[in-house]
Structure formats: C-alpha cells, structure tokens
C-alpha cells in the first residue's frame, strides 16, 4: 500500500480550502450560495495567463523558471495582479447583479442569478480562450522524495505552502483586525452592525473583493498544478461547497479543515477505489454533513 495519496490529498486539500474560504466568506455575509465562485477561480487562472503573457511580450524575452519550479517570477507577479482582477470581477458582478437582487431580499433569485452568471462567464472564457486546455508551461516536473517514502514536485510543495500562507493570513485578518471584526459583525447581524457604526455596504464590498481575490489565487494554483480550462472552476464547485458546509458556513478555519478533509477523502478514493470515484466523494461528504450535522464542524446554529 502506498501512502502517496497523502501528498495528493494535502495539495488538493489546500486548493479546496483556498476556494472554500472564499465561498464561506461570501455565503456568511450575503446569505446565498454563489455558484459563480468557480468562475472567479477560472478567471484567476486565465488572468494570470493573459497578464503573464502581456508582461512577457513587454519584456521581449521569456523569463526563466524560478529555481526548481516550473513558473517564473513573471507568473508570480501576474498571479498577484490577477487576484486584483478577480476581486474586481466579484465587485462588478455584485454591483450589476447581486446588489439589486439583495435589495429585494430574495436569496433564491440571487442563487439562480449566480448560476446564470456562472454560465455566462464560462461561455465568455470559451469564446476568448477557446475550450482547449491551456498551460502556464509545458515544462515537466519530476517528483522528488520528501521523506517517509513520499514524493512531491517542487511546484506542489511551493503551492501548498502558498495556499496555507494565504489561509493563515486570512484567519489573522478575520480574528485580529477591525476589518475582520466588521465582517463577522455584519455576517451575524447587519442591522446591529449599522447601529454600531459599521458601514455595511463597504464591508460587503470588501468581502467580495477578498473572496474574489482568494478565488483568483486558487485558480492560478490549480492552473499551475493541473491545467487551465473554462470549466476548471465549475468542476471544483461541489468540493468547495462540501468543504465550506463541512467546516460550518462562515468559519474560515472550518473551511480550511473542510478543504483538507475533502482533499484527503478524494485522494484516498482515487488511490483505493479508483479514479472514477473521485467526483462522488465530495457529494458523499456533503450529504453526510447535511444529514448528521447541518451546522458543520464549526458552524453556529442558525
């Protein structure tokens, strides 16, 4: 029996966690499941690809990969800028779509609208970038031993660390800063938040910006580890929601833990039952949580 699935699970878990914290943030404050979150992820990957390409053209030369990794410094700069792009995309979608629906107070309508936005964005990616998979680089990465008989590629290690770092930073933001307190307060009781002097509209915009930016980072990570496709984010949606709900909607540590649980479960299913079972795992986790503990691990009762 090989324990290699632990590495795959950890990497998949970090990616899922990174996406799920965005889902949990927007869900807890806006009270609806945003199905377009997957497209923010794909948008992040394509934005990094496009910005990186544009910088490459501007420099007039291909930049060399950084050390043992397959990506260059240009890709990293592009990835940071892409986080801004996806954050802005989330804000724009809120301004033209969700804010209007929120004012009418019907969550179901907002959910359906997010589904529509998801399809529209996916079609847009297909129209602009075609449906053929794209890659940041064609360079092959060799997995190296990392101890305990396990192997990982340098990319996997670096991106695992990066995802973890982003999640720790977000947790610090939520628990230790005025912005995080405002987000938690608005999430619990927007009316009282106004009474307490918090600008609820500003906090909602910040949440979109943050959730979108983290989705963008997740997209670049998935693009580097796997490939870039218009449907890459949509395919991640079920694991993301499973992770967010497992952790308890609104809880950042919960979403991270949920992400790792789903990631390990998926990797174990692939290793022991066969790759065709991968997709069923998130579904099984989701149904199990909803039946056994609907508030999730760290959720508060509604």
């Amino acid at each position: 029996m090989s324990l290699q699935f632990v590495v795959d699970g950890a990497v998949a878990g970090a990616v899922t966690g990174l996406g799920a914290v965005g889902v949990t943030l927007t869900y807890s404050i806006l009270r609806f499941a945003n199905f377009a979150h997957g497209e923010f992820i794909a948008a992040g990957a394509y934005a990094t690809l496009a910005i990186g390409g544009a910088i490459g053209v501007g420099l007039g030369a291909a930049s060399p990969p950084l050390g043992p990794f397959s990506f260059s410094a240009v890709t990293l700069v592009a990835a940071v800028l892409a986080m801004g792009v996806t954050g802005a995309l989330a804000l724009a979608l809120d301004a033209v779509l969700f804010r209007r629906l929120r004012d009418r107070g019907e969550a179901v309508v907002a959910i359906m609208a997010s589904f529509g936005a998801s399809m529209a964005l996916r079609s847009l990616f297909e129209a602009v970038f075609t449906s053929r998979p794209a890659y940041f680089t064609r360079m092959l990465q060799i997995a190296r031993p990392i101890g305990f008989g396990l192997k990982a590629t340098p990319n996997q290690l670096a991106l695992f660390g990066l995802a973890l770092l982003l999640m720790v930073l977000l947790h610090g933001l939520m628990t230790r800063t005025a912005t995080g307190r405002a987000m938690r307060a608005v999430s619990e009781n927007p009316g009282l938040a106004r009474v307490a002097g918090l600008d609820v509209g500003r906090t909602i915009r910040l949440t979109w910006l943050l959730g979108g930016a983290l989705a963008g980072a997740a997209g670049t990570v998935v693009g580097l580890l796997v490939q870039i496709r218009p449907g890459m984010g949509f395919d991640l949606l079920l694991p993301l929601f499973a992770a967010a709900i497992l952790g308890g909607i609104g809880s950042v540590p919960g979403a991270v833990l949920g992400g790792f649980t789903v990631g390990f479960a998926e990797a174990a299913a692939v290793a022991f039952a066969g790759a065709q079972w991968r997709g069923a795992v998130a579904f099984a986790v989701l149904i199990g949580v909803l039946l056994l503990r609907p508030t999730g691990l760290f959720g508060r009762p509604a």
Binding site: E188, G191, V195, V200
Partner: protein, 253 residues
C-alpha cells in the same frame, strides 16, 4: 436637580412621520426634545410607535417628513452608521449584541468606528471598571452572557464612543426586577455625566421613577408630555394609557 426642559435640546425631532413601508407611516408627526443631563421616557400603549420613533431617530426607519436635529445640526437623512460618530447612540431592544463575537470584540467594534481610537480604548477600560461582570467575561463569546449581562454589554458598547445622546429601546424587557433597577440606576449615573437619554419603556412605573420628563405617544402622535412626577401622579393618564395606575387605586380599563 438635573434635567431641565427649558434648556436647549440636544436631540430634537419635529413632526416626524416615519414607517417601514412607504405610504404606511406608523409615527404620524411625533415630536420630542431632550436636553443634556436629562432622561426623557417615551411611553404609550403597544403599537403606539415608540420603538419606530427611536429607530427613525437612529436612522434605521426612513423618515418621510419632519426633521431630526442633533445639537442643532439636521441629521434627518444621515445614514445610520454615521450617527454613533455624530454622538447619537442607540441600544435596540433585542439582538443588541454580537453573540458570535467575544465580549472584548463587541467593545472593540465600537472603538474601530471612532475617528479617535485611542480615546475609545481608554473609554473601554473605564467602562470595564464600571461593569466588572463584563471585565471578567471579556474573552467569552457574548452569546454566553446572561440576559442582564447582555444588556450591560449593549449599553457599554453604546457608551464607548462617549455619546451625547443615548437612546434605549426597552432595556428592561426580559430582565428580572433586580437587573431592571440595576440598569436604571446606571442610566441615572450616565445622565449625571451630562448625557441626554431617551428611554422607551413598557415598564411605566420604573421608567417614570428614573425619568425627568415623559412623553406619552398614542397612535404615533404626542398625547401627553410633562415632568415625570406629574404624569406619575395623574391617575387618568395612568388608567388610560399606561396600563394601570401607579398607586394601585383605580383598575385598568
């Protein structure tokens, strides 16, 4: 004696028409004025529009006509979240604390929104001395506090910004009599520091005891107004609007 009705009002509402739905006002032209160092009780039967009036003054319910002035400045259209900064604090009746946040974070939020955060932190330290229960429970989630402690936290949160006007919507609701007298004793202390207090209450007897003046609302309009003592001693008013005479003579209608 603290509390004089002829002093220049700190908070003044004139002929305010307000309601949740457009075209369906609940407050039909009510007026009130409260001066520094004065407690004004807003009384009246259920559905008289007392809560709606204070929510309108807090900016939570739209005001369709009339004006609200804070120390002479027209704040009728000022967004609710800017009012604490302007010196107008409000303690809602229910869900007036963030249950999922720690006691300390509940108070920190009040500091966060102040232009002068160090002053807010200094004031928070003073308030924790004033409310030792809260100081002991600092790290607890506010949702785990008892009813009385929650009310203290809600009041303390409102006081962090050192407001000039403090409005409370039924602070005695759901509290045991012991806590009610404790809360009201603290209101008196706060008043004595020069704060103007607007107190909406169902507990008429207790409210008239603590208040300097009282306003009786009926069907969204001013019906009676005067010194709290006068209203408390007027059996007609007690029987008609206050749900029972304060001196256990006369039976309620």
């Amino acid at each position: 004696m603290s509390g004089t009705s002829d002093a220049r009002p700190l908070l003044a509402a004139e002929a305010v028409v307000a309601g949740y739905e457009p075209g369906l006002p609940i407050v039909h032209g009510a007026s009130l004025a409260v001066a520094a160092g004065e407690i004004l009780a807003v009384l009246g039967p259920n559905g008289a529009g007392k809560s709606t009036l204070v929510k309108a003054l807090a900016g939570l319910v739209p005001v369709s006509r009339g004006t609200v002035r804070l120390d002479g400045r027209d704040i009728t259209g000022l967004p609710a979240h800017l009012r604490p900064r302007a010196g107008l604090a409000f303690v809602p009746q229910t869900e007036n604390i963030f249950a999922s946040l720690s006691v300390a974070d509940n108070l920190r939020i009040a500091c966060d929104v102040m232009p002068d955060r160090p002053r807010g932190r200094a004031r928070t330290a003073e308030l924790l001395d004033l409310f030792p229960d809260l100081a002991r429970a600092r790290t607890l989630l506010a949702g785990r506090l008892s009813g009385g402690q929650r009310q203290m936290l809600a009041v303390a949160r409102a006081l962090v910004a050192s407001p000039r006007v403090l409005m409370l919507d039924e602070p005695s609701a759901g509290l045991s009599p012991l806590f009610v007298s404790d809360v009201f004793a603290r209101l008196r202390t706060i008043r004595d520091t020069g704060v103007a207090i607007v107190l909406v209450e169902q507990n008429v007897r207790a409210a008239l005891k603590v208040a300097d003046r009282a306003l009786v609302l009926v069907e969204g309009r001013n019906r009676h107004e005067g010194p709290a003592k006068t209203l408390a001693d007027d059996p007609a008013i007690a029987a008609l609007y206050l749900g029972g005479a304060p001196h256990s003579s006369g039976s309620p209608a």
